[in-house]
């Protein structure tokens, strides 16, 4: 044991630093390879999906509000604003499935991301249809009591 403590052959600072830096470089390479997936793509997945569902909810709320005040004879016409791109992706809002499934779809045009939002069953009394492309200049929802 005394010999082990007196032996100074393994305490070369240079070797030590070489070891340290090798380990560090290996660690760095490992992080570098995984950073794109863990830090960038995963985060953007979450952000984009959150925002899709925000927009879906906004539309669903507007539709429900319109349904609540819809006149027996008359019409409502409203414009709404949405971002052109989310996470650098154009997207489509599809209400054509509303009548059968009671949902609206918010779907990316370039990736597979898609979020469904419920419209509380109002499409069974008032038919809802139409598609919105985020790149268009103006978006609107129209209601007409005469057009069933």
């Amino acid at each position: 044991m005394r010999l082990f403590f007196k032996n100074e052959k393994g305490v070369s600072s240079t070797t030590g630093y070489l070891l340290y830096s090798t380990i560090f470089i290996m660690f760095f390479v490992a992080i570098y390879l995984s950073v794109n997936g863990v830090l960038l793509e995963r985060q953007s997945d979450i952000v984009v999906e959150e925002e899709f569902s925000d927009i879906g909810n906004m539309l669903s709320t507007t539709l429900t509000d319109m349904y609540l005040i819809a006149p027996e004879n008359g019409r409502i016409d409203t414009k709404f604003m949405i971002p052109t791109t989310i996470g650098n992706e154009y997207y489509t809002i599809n209400a054509d499935v509303a009548t059968t499934d009671q949902i609206i779809e918010v779907e990316s045009q370039s990736s597979q991301r898609k979020v469904n939002v419920t419209i509380s069953g109002i499409a069974s009394t008032v038919p809802i249809n139409g598609t919105v492309l985020s790149g268009e200049m103006e978006h609107r929802i129209s209601y007409d009591s005469k057009r069933q």
Binding site: S13, T14, Y17, L18, Y20, S21, F24, I25, F28, I31, V35, L39, L40, Q43, S44, V47, V48, E50, E51, D54, I55, M58, T61, T62, D65, M66, L68, I69, P71, E72, N73, G74, R75, I76, D77, T78, K79, F80, M81, I82, P83, I86, G87
Partner: protein, 152 residues
């Protein structure tokens, strides 16, 4: 101690220190990049004027009902017919309401399109057909006609 400080054969140490410093800076930049990656949260404000429109419609119905009641009272001592008096009261209401809504940047119009009067013995009251429209630049609403039935 003196030997460690005076030992000048430390190129590797310096070099590795430099490599680590550069690598750390790179990592920190990457991390920051991920945190503010250019996505901003939804800037949508829900602007659908549901309450304004509801208010307008219910106020118009109330005013119409009052107008018909007043018209029946005034008709006792006036040459004008009930529809004439009702229409003129609703025109007044339209002028005042338009002014109120205009101060919020909204255009509204309330007008009478038809009135039928029934005598007191009838099962139905008087019926007024109102045209109500609302526009705030983003949302257009019209109820034509809004049918108001009033028992006198």
């Amino acid at each position: 101690m003196a030997r460690i400080i005076e030992n000048e054969q430390g190129q590797w140490i310096m070099l590795s220190g430099l490599v680590m410093a550069i690598a750390l800076v790179f990592l920190v930049t990457l991390m920051n990049n991920a945190a503010v990656t250019g996505y901003h949260s939804s800037s949508n404000v829900l602007e659908f004027p549901k309450d304004d429109i509801r208010d307008l419609v219910s106020q118009s119905r109330d005013a119409t009902s009052q107008a018909v009641h007043i018209a029946h009272q005034m008709n006792q001592s006036s040459n004008q017919t009930i529809p004439e008096i009702t229409t003129s009261i609703i025109e007044d209401f339209n002028r005042q309401t338009s002014l109120l809504y205009a101060s919020h940047g909204q255009t509204v119009a309330i007008s009478v399109s038809n009135i039928t009067t029934n005598n007191a013995s009838s099962a139905f009251g008087d019926i007024v057909w109102l045209n109500i429209s609302y526009n705030d630049g983003n949302t257009f609403y019209s109820s034509e006609p809004e049918i108001v039935e009033i028992r006198v």
